[in-house]
Every structure is written in C-alpha cells, then in structure tokens.
C-alpha cells in the first residue's frame, strides 16, 4: 500500500466544458510523490486547463478528482502584475505564505536571483521574473508543484540549470511535480511519466514507451521525433487543425 500513500492526485475521466465545447475531455492521470509527470501537446491542446483542474482552480465538469495534496504551489504560464501596485520581489515571495527573509533569499539563490530581493517586480526581465516565480513556488515547500512552461524567456544555460533544479527539488522535497513543457529533450530524459495531450490524452506512459508510439509523431512531426530519436507509437486516430479527432487510422 506504499504506492497509495504516495498518491497526491488522481483524475478519473475528467474534462472541462466551456462555451459549448469540451476544452479537454477524458483526462485520467495520477501524480505521486517524488515523481515528475509531464504534459506535452500543441498550443490549445488543453495543457493549462488540465493543470488548472488539478489545482482546483477549475472544476471538472465530469469524472472524478481526488486530491490528497496538503500544500500546492503553482508557477502559472502568464502572470501580469498591474503597475498600480508597488511590489518588490520580497513582497511577491510572501504572497501566499508566511516565510522569513532568510528562507526567501535561500530560495532565490537556488534560481540565481537573490540579488533582486528588493527590486521592483515591474522592472524585471522576462527571464528574471520566471526565476522569481519558480523560487516562490519552491520556497513554499509544497508536496505538489505545478509548473506551466516554467523556463520561458530564460537564457539557454539558465534553462538547463533550472530543469536540473526542478529534478533536484523533486527528490529533496519528495514532492510530486506536474510539468508543462515544450522542451522534448528534458521531458524525455528526466521525467517519469509523459502525457501527450490534444483535447484528450493521445498517449501516455514512460518516456521510453512513448518513444515507440506513433500518436506522438503525428502530434509533433516526424522531424522532431527522429531528431530526438524518441517517439514511435501506433496511432489509432488523427487530428483536425482544432485538435479534434477526425478519423480512425
């Protein structure tokens, strides 16, 4: 039963219905402590919507969600802080938790931006802001961490360092991580479970098993698939431009 004790979230056939259509449907997945689950898929495939269901920001319109996580932290994809609010990095770090400056600096050090502690958040570059967002989430010491394209706008070296950090955090905090990423290289080399999304779950499994799946090639193109020498699986359907299943192959 050790397996069950490690279970953080379990989605059983969940979906979100909005403006008379299903944004995502038929989502079943599990997130366990100490494991990284990755969502991949094209734009508009429902990655963020699925993440929001897991985080209880959106309600699932069908199916069942069981959430055993006691503390969740979130790195949203886009965040826009109104200029009317004077906000320094240190204030932002304390947004949803009571932590002292020492813990804040420690977390900022991990992402390499501890020098920005008293900077105005509106003056940060895109990459710096992303690093602050990740540090804030880590500082919460969550048992479930959801990262929605966390390294967007981060420079090349920083990207690798941050991905390594995410991997390390997963084991040091023994937390479950749900990652949305377009970086197929990292996804395939470092995550425990991969889910290909396009309005529904096209295929899922360990990176190794995904490699042998053809839905993936359809979704990401032959070139990417072969470059990364990863995906090969038998696809039983294909998609229209809006992501809906158009026919069975």
């Amino acid at each position: 039963m050790a397996e069950n004790n490690n279970l953080l979230v379990k989605l059983d056939n969940c979906g979100v219905y909005k403006s008379s259509k299903w944004i995502v449907r038929g989502i079943s997945l599990e997130i366990h402590k100490g494991k990284i689950v990755t969502l991949i898929g094209p734009n508009g495939s429902g990655k963020t919507t699925s993440a929001k269901m897991i985080l209880k920001i959106l309600k699932s319109d069908e199916g069942q969600i069981k959430n055993f996580a006691s503390k969740m932290a979130y790195v949203p994809q886009k965040i826009n802080i109104d200029w009317t609010m004077p906000l320094r990095v240190v204030d932002f770090m304390k947004l949803t938790s009571h932590i002292n400056n020492l813990e804040i600096v420690d977390a900022l050090k991990l992402t390499g931006v501890d020098n920005l502690l008293y900077n105005d958040i509106h003056n940060l570059s895109g990459g710096e802001f992303q690093r602050v967002l990740i540090a804030r989430a880590i500082a919460k010491k969550p048992d479930l961490l959801v990262l929605d394209e966390p390294v967007q706008g981060v420079d090349f070296n920083g990207e690798i360092a941050l991905y390594n950090l995410i991997k390390k955090i997963c084991s040091t905090l023994n937390c479950g991580i749900l990652l949305i990423s377009h970086d197929l290289h990292f996804v395939m080399s470092a995550t425990d479970h991969v889910i290909c999304l396009n309005g529904h779950i096209c295929c899922s499994g360990t990176p190794r098993s995904i490699v042998k799946n053809s839905a993936y090639i359809d979704l990401f193109g032959e070139h990417n698939a072969t470059t990364l020498s990863l995906y090969q699986h038998d696809h039983d359907h294909s998609h229209g431009t809006d992501g809906r299943v158009t026919n069975n192959v």
Binding site: I57, M72, T84
Partner: protein, 276 residues
C-alpha cells in the same frame, strides 16, 4: 470627572466633531482605497455610492437607519452586478453605468414622493460633515473598527488574489470568499461616510489618497500607510480651509487631496530627470 467634562466640551464643538469623524473615515478609506486602485474598481466604487442615494431615500421613506439602509442597498447592487456579469455579454463598465445611473434615477424619483419631509439634496450629494453628532461618530468608529478588523483577517487572501487570482486559488487562499467579503466592506465604508462626504465625493476620498501614495511608495504596505496619512491630512487641512475661507467642507477636503496629489508627482518628476 474633570476629564469627562473636557471631553464633553470637545464634542460640543461642531468643528471638533467634524474633525474626529473625518479622520475616522480617512483611516478606513486608506487601505480600502489602495485595493480599489489595485483592482481597478474606481468606477465600481462610484456605482455603489450612486446607489447609496437610493439607500438614503428608502431610509427616509421608511424612517430607517440611514447607514444601515445604504449598506444594504449598496451590497444588493454589488451582488446584482456580479450576477449580471455572469449573465450578459455586456462589458463590466457598461453594466456599472447601467446600475449607477438607474439606481441614482430611482433614488431621485423616490425623493419626489417624499413631500412630507424637507429634503436636503445638496447635503446628500456632497455630504455635510459639520452636521455630524456624537452618535454618527460612534457609528463611524465602531463600524470602521469592524471593517478594518475583517480586512486584517482577509488581507493575505485578498492581496494575493489582487496580484493573481489563479495563484491565490491554487495555493489555497480561497479568494472567492475574500472577494465577496471585500465587496461588502466597500459597501460598508460608503454607508459610513455618505452623511459626511456625500454620494458624489466618497470615491474621491477612497481614490485620491491611494493615488498620492502610489506615486511615492515602493511596497504595498508603504502604500497603505501613506494613503491613510494622506487621507487624514486632507481631512484636517480641508476642514480648516473650509472654516477659514467659508467653503463647503466635503469638496474642500477633496480639493486639498488633489493638491497633495499634484505635489506627490514632484518626486516622480525629479527621479525621472535624474535617471536621464
């Protein structure tokens, strides 16, 4: 006994009563005003205060407590607005305008029926802080203490939701609850101040001190403190000016606040010059 006597004398003076009441309102308006600015709710505040007029009319019609009646009407309008936003495709500002002017109109139409009582429309629109009595002061301070206490308890949730709603919701801050309570608090501050500042000027007292504070502060806490101080200074200076040159008190307070706002732009200007 001696001291009680002095206190009595103090409260006997209409000007002192006005000062005490005004300072109370400014202290409540400081933090709420900051939130109104951060959340871009200034027109929302306007709508609530316009609907307050209807609240006052109803209070007169049924000889009800004014503060209570205004609070109820403002709260109802706020909830109606939230409900309408879910149902129609009209933009938020159109709905606000619709509610603001229709409640204002209903209030004014109802006033027409109240021929039995002398009705001071100017007083209602611009307030009469010089007419406050000890009972009004008690209501301001008790109500104000309640508002600030509640605000203190929901602050973290409210503030995080102001920065980012999804983040706040995901990390268990229950923003939907604090948002709802905040709406009621806004209705509360309008109810407390309608008699003194008037329906047309309340939003000014909420907004201008917070706007002054935004110009010269670098953290949210600093902005709240400066907004509160700026409000208090505006009230004191505004009242003395109105006494000195015999102008109406409510508008004088707002004019002083505006002057402070202009002064608060100077540091920004200097900073901009230095950075060039």
């Amino acid at each position: 006994m001696e001291q009680m006597g002095e206190l009595q004398i103090m409260f006997d003076d209409f000007f002192t009563r006005a000062l005490i009441a005004g300072i109370g309102i400014a202290i409540i308006a400081g933090p709420l005003g900051c939130l109104v600015i951060w959340r871009r709710l200034s027109y929302f505040g306007d709508t609530l205060s316009h609907s307050a007029l209807l609240g006052v009319t109803l209070a007169y019609s049924f000889s009800f407590n004014i503060t209570f009646s205004v609070f109820i009407i403002s709260a109802v309008v706020a909830l109606l607005l939230i409900n309408l936003q879910k149902r129609t495709k009209l933009a938020g500002d159109s709905l606000l305008g619709l509610l603001a002017h229709s409640t204002l109109a209903i209030g004014l139409v109802l006033i027409g029926f109240l021929t039995s009582i002398r009705f001071d429309l100017m007083g209602l629109l611009f307030g009469d802080i010089l007419a406050v009595d000890v009972e009004d002061i008690t209501i301001v301070y008790l109500g104000g203490a309640a508002i600030l206490l509640i605000l203190y308890f929901i602050w973290k949730s409210l503030f995080s939701a102001t920065v980012n709603y999804d983040l706040s919701a995901a990390e268990g801050m229950r923003p939907e609850i604090s948002n709802f309570i905040f709406t009621l608090l806004l209705a509360g501050v309008i109810a407390l101040s309608i008699k003194m500042i008037g329906a047309l000027l309340i939003t000014g007292l909420l907004l201008i001190p917070a706007a002054i504070a935004r110009n010269i502060s670098s953290s949210p806490r600093q902005m709240v403190i400066i907004a509160t101080l700026a409000g208090v200074v505006s009230v004191i200076a505004g009242l003395f000016v109105s006494l000195e040159i015999n102008t109406s008190s409510g508008p004088s307070i707002i004019v002083v606040a505006l002057l402070l706002f202009i002064i608060s732009l100077i540091p920004l200007e200097i900073k901009g010059q230095l950075q060039k």
